[in-house]
């Protein structure tokens, strides 16, 4: 099925329509927003088979993976947003301040306007529906740009969206580079881009021209640090699962494993066992293993594997015409190996033998901040050492990938991994601006705020100083006099109390 691209001259019209629909004010109603959020969920629920078939056609993805990740995360987000729109959009007061509270200071989240969401090919469904839900919750109009590399899915979404959602507020634009360029010329009120750093720079430069705020969710090369004392069977299963889901095309997938040299053979065995358990008839014949999105990407991955100086322990099987790259384990990889030069984004797992956890941490810190760090260990000290001495978008112990599924955990990168968040309230926050307000009664000027009007006087300066916040204790000073006072007071009360008790006891004691 071929994907029809949106005509270039239609693109500014779509933007204008969305803007007009936003300005009509109908997204102000919370009930309206909730209805639209629910409709996103039903857009998926009513068409589950068609979406599963689309992912199979575009990505060779097994249905279970589509259900677990794409559907699961969409439904969770729809439920969370639906239940929380009122709370998230409620007007709130800042922390109480005696000098200011009578001016009724308030904050209210308001929509930014017309937002753009651009998603990559690997999980095009939830990476569009989740930001869409956040944008709707915030009261925005939204335009979605699905990836052109998943034509069946993208055509399906373009067909279904106007059937379920308000067709003037929410749109799909399909296309390739020329269409994307046209889209980026327009002034958006926020752009959420999920993808890679190279394209992110182009988007950020285009956005800068209009001062458009951005959320960037990019990739990274995610490391696993293994404690030799951990249960290798459990670790191997969970690491391999994270690597082979969606044929390795997951931005959170573990890419390389840092393991002490002497433990490498045991980990290789455990991984091999997991591999055999996962694919008893071999991965190519398995209904539980996906395909690479395009032949070009498959070739890219094959080239990296061909150039490696490491040892291929299992896998290495390839069929470019079928876009098949077999789950592959490469051991004895060094940090300067070709497989370490870029994000593989395929089902190839690397083992890098190290001396100890310090060397592992040093290797992780010498590279760009990853989206996630995975620690496999049952020892709290080991876990804490790794967590505290590294930086990452997320950190997981004895697990890979699943932070995305936990409703309420913000997903976001750091450094080259991007900035901002998606999912949950933090995703919602990206799509609103906090409008502050206050209402100052006239009497305030007579009693409190008179000194602000010229001509300024010495009396006014004195009044102003009396309103200033006290500073914290000067660093280096002894305990503050205030706490000294409390201690003294407490001591006095205790002394007085015990004297009274002692006196009474003495009174009651029989006179000898």
């Amino acid at each position: 099925m071929s994907l029809s691209y949106t005509p270039l001259d239609e693109i500014p019209k779509i933007h204008a329509k969305a803007r007009q629909a936003f300005l009509s004010g109908r997204t102000k109603s919370i009930a309206f927003r909730k209805r639209q959020i629910a409709q996103v969920a039903y857009l998926v629920k009513d068409n589950e088979q068609r979406f599963k078939d689309a992912m199979m056609a575009d990505l060779g993805r097994p249905h279970q993976e589509t259900e677990f990740i794409d559907f699961g995360v969409t439904y969770a987000e729809s439920r969370l947003a639906y239940d929380n729109v009122e709370k998230w959009t409620a007007e709130r007061a800042p922390e109480f301040s005696p000098n200011w509270f009578f001016m009724k200071p308030r904050l209210k989240p308001e929509p930014k306007g017309v937002v753009l969401v651009i998603a990559p090919f690997n999980y095009p469904l939830f990476l569009l529906t989740v930001p869409l839900i956040s944008a709707i919750a915030g009261g925005n109009a939204a335009v979605l740009k699905p990836p052109e590399q998943t034509p069946v899915f993208s055509a399906l979404l373009a067909e279904l969206l106007p059937r379920y959602l308000d067709p003037e507020l929410y749109h799909v634009i399909n296309g390739g580079v020329p269409e994307m360029t046209k889209i980026l010329e327009l002034p958006w009120d926020h752009i959420m881009y999920i993808g890679n750093a190279r394209v992110a720079r182009i988007i950020a430069e285009a956005a800068a021209k209009h001062l458009t705020p951005l959320t960037l969710e990019l990739g990274g090369k995610n490391p696993v640090i293994v404690d030799p004392r951990v249960d290798f069977k459990m670790a191997a299963r969970r690491i391999l699962w994270g690597r082979v889901s969606n044929a390795g095309q997951t931005c959170l997938a573990p890419e390389y494993v840092l393991v002490p040299e002497e433990a490498q053979p045991a980990l290789v065995s455990a991984l091999r066992e997991a591999y055999r358990a996962f694919f008893p008839e071999g991965p190519k014949n398995s209904a539980s293993f996906g395909r690479i999105v395009t032949q070009a990407h498959a070739e890219r991955i094959k080239k990296l594997v061909d150039e490696t100086r490491g040892t291929i322990e299992f896998g290495g099987d390839v069929d470019i015409a079928e876009k098949y790259i077999g789950p592959t384990l490469v051991s004895n990889v060094r940090p300067d190996d070709p497989l370490m030069s870029e994000e593989i984004f395929g089902p190839v797992l690397l083992l890098i033998p190290v001396k100890d956890v310090d060397e592992a941490i040093a290797i992780v810190n010498s590279r760009d901040c990853p989206l996630a760090i995975y620690v496999f260990s049952d020892e709290k000290d080991f876990q804490t050492k790794v967590t505290e001495n590294t930086q990452s978008g997320a950190v997981m112990v004895n697990e890979t990938l699943i932070t995305v599924g936990a409703p309420g955990l913000p997903v976001g990168g750091k450094g080259p991994g991007g900035y901002g968040y998606y999912t949950t309230k933090y995703g919602f926050d990206q799509f609103v601006h906090l409008r502050v307000s206050l209402n100052n009664p006239a009497w305030v000027d007579k009693f409190a705020f008179w000194f602000r009007f010229p001509p300024y006087t010495a009396a006014g300066a004195k009044k102003l100083r009396s309103l200033e916040s006290p500073l914290p204790t000067r660093p280096g000073d002894a305990e503050s006099t205030l706490s000294k006072t409390w201690i003294l007071l407490l001591a006095t009360i205790l002394a007085a109390g015990s004297s009274v008790v002692a006196f009474r006891a003495l009174e009651r004691a029989p006179r000898s």
Binding site: Q64, Y75, P105, L211, N365, A406, P407, L438, A442
Partner: protein, 512 residues
């Protein structure tokens, strides 16, 4: 007045490197350390208040009351807030209760971004540099400040005092003009906070650096029923403080044509009370930052097609612009084009509030919309139909001083926030984490491993969220159904109890 010493361009990358290395050392991990540094900002100011006041008087002709009110007081508040809240803001947070996810210990915690750059304009050097610095430090970052070269005395003082009070490796001041700023922007920062909007955004785009920005042109809408004396005072106060060099300053007033005369009469009274000996002799009027800016503002006044009713004078060599009010200004006047950033208020007569709203909507989103009215409906009408960073009633500018109310724009007035927890969040990354015990796989999660079973949906159900109700009549039916069930249940229960008691069905008791 000492000349400002510019940082040598070759030293700029070295400073960046020093800050980065100091950050990587992990020194800022300690909450105690952060609090100490925050307190030191306070003492940097307090111990040297006289010198700060003198510097600001030299640079901006500022009276100590204005320096106290706009620069020192809000910064002391911010220091108090940051100091008292670091523990709370940085402690790990959980997610909404979920039985399924609870065993995996999902959490997230604020972590520093790294090395942060704060670029400030000339108008409020302390507020715009040290206030955000407090929250950047609370978040655990290293910080480099770039003050304006247009306030040489203040910027020089900052460069002298910062290393005396603050950790000299983590916190730096870089001074300079365009070449130095360009050099600064070539480097890779983990976050920047600043003003020269589009230029900074584009430089940031190259490095995928997140940015916080602010820009302005703020309208006032006047209700003819308002207490006109109060309105005149508070509007002129907001326009003339700091000689109009405030981003939140009211730029123009939309007033019903029939009320213009009344408003202006009230303003004339206020003007006399502010400057009893005339503004040029007043010690309560600040000066424009530079001769160039003063010349620019005078040019705008000279070109106006409106009528000057107050002020209009200037002495650009002394950087003096008289507080000026111009009436009968039209939408395309010189005063309505570029931002004035000076003490010149334009009065724009309109037919009614609807025309006022349309006038505002036809322009870029401002940093603030001000409404002067005691009528709640009037206030709501204007705010609901406009968009801005702030929406304030019966006052101008003061929202920036309220602790807990962030200053932030939308659209052309910028994005991101200054102040309190919002600043802290801009300077942090929320790192998500989870810790998955092995037993979870046995109990719930084993279905995720290949080979996938045909009946996988059975296992997945436990993890799948329940959808929101489908919009349409089904929504009310399910609620009614639920209520109906419980009412029926209660009735049945109650009636069978009654019947049993009445003995009617005594024969059935034998069965029990």
């Amino acid at each position: 007045m000492s000349a400002l010493a510019y940082t040598l361009t070759e030293d700029i990358p070295k400073i960046h490197e020093t800050a980065r290395r100091a950050f990587d050392s992990g020194k800022t991990r300690s909450i105690g350390f952060r609090k100490e540094q925050i307190a030191k900002i306070g003492y940097l100011l307090k111990d040297n208040e006289k010198r700060w006041r003198e510097a600001l008087h030299a640079d901006l002709g500022r009276h100590p009351v204005e320096t106290g009110l706009f620069d020192l007081m809000p910064t002391y508040s911010e220091i108090e807030m940051a100091y008292n809240n670091v523990e709370k803001w940085t402690k790990p947070q959980g997610i909404p209760f979920s039985l399924t996810w609870l065993p995996m210990h999902p959490k997230f915690q604020a972590e520093p971004k790294g090395v942060v750059l704060i670029v400030a304009p000339f108008n409020f050097p302390i507020f715009l540099l040290l206030k955000p610095m407090a929250s950047a430090i609370a978040a655990g970052n290293a910080v480099v400040l770039k003050p304006s070269e247009q306030t040489p005395a203040t910027s020089q003082l900052l460069a002298e005092l910062l290393p005396k009070y603050m950790d000299p490796e983590l916190y730096h001041v870089i001074n300079g003009g365009v070449p130095e700023t360009t050099k600064v922007l070539e480097l890779k920062w983990d976050h920047r906070n600043g003003r020269v909007a589009r230029i900074i955004a584009q430089a940031a785009a190259k490095h995928l650096t997140p940015v916080t920005l602010e820009v302005w042109k703020n309208p006032v809408v006047v209700d003819p029923k308002v207490d006109v004396k109060m309105a005149a005072r508070r509007i002129l106060w907001g326009r003339f403080s700091n000689a109009g060099q405030i981003c939140l300053s009211p730029d123009y007033v939309l007033v019903p044509a029939h009320f213009q005369d009344t408003l202006i009469e009230a303003m004339k009274e206020v003007y006399k009370s502010f400057y009893p000996e005339g503004p040029e002799k007043s010690n309560s009027l600040s000066r424009i930052v530079s001769v160039a800016h003063a010349t620019r503002i005078k040019g705008l006044i000279d070109e106006t097609k409106g009528t000057i009713v107050l002020g209009g004078g200037a002495d650009v060599s002394k950087r003096y612009i008289a507080p000026t009010v111009v009436r009968d200004v039209s939408g395309d006047d010189s005063l309505m084009g570029e931002e004035i950033f000076g003490p010149v208020l334009a009065i724009v007569p309109v037919k009614d509030v609807d025309e006022a709203i349309a006038f505002i909507r036809a322009r870029e989103y401002p940093l603030a919309v001000y409404v002067f009215s005691q009528d709640k409906k009037f206030q709501e009408k204007v705010f609901k139909n406009t968009k801005s960073g702030a929406a304030c009633t019966n006052d101008t500018v003061v929202s920036a001083a309220v602790p807990g109310l962030p200053v932030g724009g939308v659209g052309s007035s910028g994005y991101g926030y200054y102040g309190g927890k919002h600043s802290f969040e801009q300077f942090s990354h929320y790192r998500a984490s989870l810790d998955n015990p092995s037993w979870v796989d046995t109990v719930v999660f084993s279905f995720r491993y290949p080979p996938y079973k045909p009946n996988y949906t059975r296992y997945m159900r436990i993890l799948t969220s329940k959808l929101p109700p489908r919009p349409g009549k089904h929504a009310t039916v399910s609620a009614a159904k639920r209520w109906g069930f419980w009412i029926l249940f209660t009735l049945l229960g109650a009636s069978s109890a009654l019947l049993m008691k009445s003995g009617r069905f005594a024969q059935f008791k034998a069965w029990a």
